[in-house]
Symmetry: C2
Subunit: 340 residues, 2 copies
């Protein structure tokens, strides 16, 4: 029998294990219990209808204890050394007395599940540290879903006592807008090379960055200065960052402790500056409003398009627009008239 | 009596003048009658309920005769010399046998109505030419409304025989996304200066451009080469343009015919290349789908938010999100549950 073979007592079914009591989870999380944190995050990732009241209960209960961390988004093309940097930065922050949680927003990495495992293996020292918590990519499908789960997981980590949250994303998809909208500071990781070689950086990402760090400066020393200059020049074509702080281009290596310590100092100082200027608080509020508006709009539209009678007319008129038989604005007028 | 004083026969009321017969407008437009074109554009700009059937009739009738022009978007910060360039480019294109219409998408210029008049005055030669048609900014309020009217005015111009449409926008607002989404080729006008001086260029605009023209090269010759280099370097940080064509940075002066002739050659050659590659057609289709989706989404959301009972709960929960009393996702869940 499978239940005997697995050694699991049949009385504790999988269902019971996956859906523990919200009250005990809340208590566990607020007491800094990592197991409760992991189970809590799994709970809020559930899309099952019967889990929604419990999920709501957990979020509402931990909300007053959340929000006190510094949230750092980290992006960069594959090969830029994100995992190595996150491990080094995490350990440095822990050595200064912080508790560090690492989350990921990258639905695409589900396709190559290896990368998640790879990260955990590469962040070996950090993942074993009692003051660190590493959570792999949530398993929900859509970008919106993943972003929501990551943002909620962040709240749970904060309530559990983590005061620095590192949110990782591969800088080639659509996920960096989401990460930018849930973090206080956005770090772009680059490697030495000319603009052409850096083209993998997706449009808009450079404009989001609070800070650019050129990694692997030890391997390609001759290219570093040139890359730094080119990035600084390119930054001049963008409007000043909303934070009011200039965007710095730092260089170094994730493998060399002095540059990591410098990066760390820079990040914590930047956080202090934006806290003092009030930008930190105002950005947090704006982000909450952005998620509210964005999610509400998406839900309204989803419900509209799910209603069959509109789907049919929308589908037909969409075809006519595509074939150039009707002007798009006229087509919309007809749909909205039908919907009266 | 005012009607006598104005010399207008009271039988032809203002109402009759503003709302002519759609049939006669259609015939006039298809016959290349500029007066019918102007009246037709005014007609389709109407937001009055009783004008909608006539508007629909006009658009549907001219649609098979529209779409055959080359649509060129032109943007640049104030002072870059847009009007001068448009006049010079327009006259050059006319000298080669084209018919040129100039439209504007810039709702902000309504605030300083002078700029529209100013443009007309500055484009004196072009506006007097029988093969040119200059239409000032539509008077609708919202960006979406203005963009819609400009796109529809474009169709009418095409049906009236204009085979080149120049759509102007001030590159500092949100209008350039709209212009980019209704043109085949997007030209960014810059002036010599360092990146810092060019910061007025809004984010994202450089990535939209098919072509950058550094104007006023005759006034600032020493800065031109440097600006060109810096722009070329900055372009390297962007992904290749969707058209598959490299983005060129040309230099010259709108006041010197040889550079205008060269710019003209470049534009017409680019148009030929993207027609041959199929990008022209596929972009047109994508644009139509984009306007359809975008407009439909906006209309659906507008209707939702206009419904009072949702407005109240949305307003209240929005406040709670702002005060950090509820998580944005939880707030949306509550609203959508209410809406069942």
């Amino acid at each position: 029998m499978p239940s005997d073979a697995s050694g699991i007592n049949p009385r504790f079914s999988k269902k019971t294990f996956l859906r523990p009591d919200p009250e005990s989870l809340i208590q566990g999380i607020l007491n800094g219990d990592i197991t409760a944190l992991s189970r809590g995050i799994t709970y809020i990732e559930s899309s099952k209808e019967e889990d929604q009241p419990g999920k709501h209960k957990i979020i509402q209960a931990i909300l007053p204890h959340a929000g006190k961390s510094l949230r750092i988004g980290i992006t960069g093309i594959p090969g830029a050394g994100k995992s190595t940097l996150i491990e080094a930065l995490g350990l440095e922050l822990i050595s200064q007395g912080h508790k560090v949680a690492v989350l990921a927003v990258d639905p695409s990495s589900q396709l190559s599940k290896g990368s998640i495992l790879g990260d955990k293996t590469r962040m070996e020292q950090l993942s074993r540290h009692p003051n660190a918590y590493i959570r792999p990519t949530p398993s929900a499908g859509s970008m919106g879903g993943v972003a929501r789960h990551t943002r909620e997981a962040m709240l749970l980590c904060e309530a559990c006592g983590f005061d620095i949250i590192l949110v990782e994303t591969v800088g080639v998809g659509q996920s960096e807008t989401a990460v930018h909208s849930m973090t206080d500071l956005f770090l772009l990781l680059a490697i030495p090379g000319t603009g052409d070689e850096l083209q993998g950086i997706k449009r808009g990402i450079m404009e989001m960055a609070d800070l650019i760090f050129i990694n692997k400066a030890d391997i390609f020393p001759e290219k570093v200065r040139l890359t730094q200059q080119q990035l600084e020049n390119a930054l001049h074509f963008f409007p000043p960052h909303a934070s009011g702080q200039p965007v710095q281009v730092l260089t170094g290596s994730a493998l060399q402790q002095p540059t990591i310590a410098e990066l760390c100092r820079y990040i914590l100082n930047h956080a202090k500056l934006i806290r003092d200027s009030g930008y930190f608080e105002s950005q947090r509020k704006e982000q909450a409003m952005w998620w509210f508006k964005e999610t509400l709009d998406q839900e309204i539209l989803k419900r509209f398009y799910q209603q069959n009678k509109y789907t049919k007319i929308v589908y037909e008129l969409r075809q006519e627009v595509m074939l150039g038989k009707i002007d798009p604005f006229q087509a919309v007028d007809l749909i909205m008239k039908e919907w009266k």
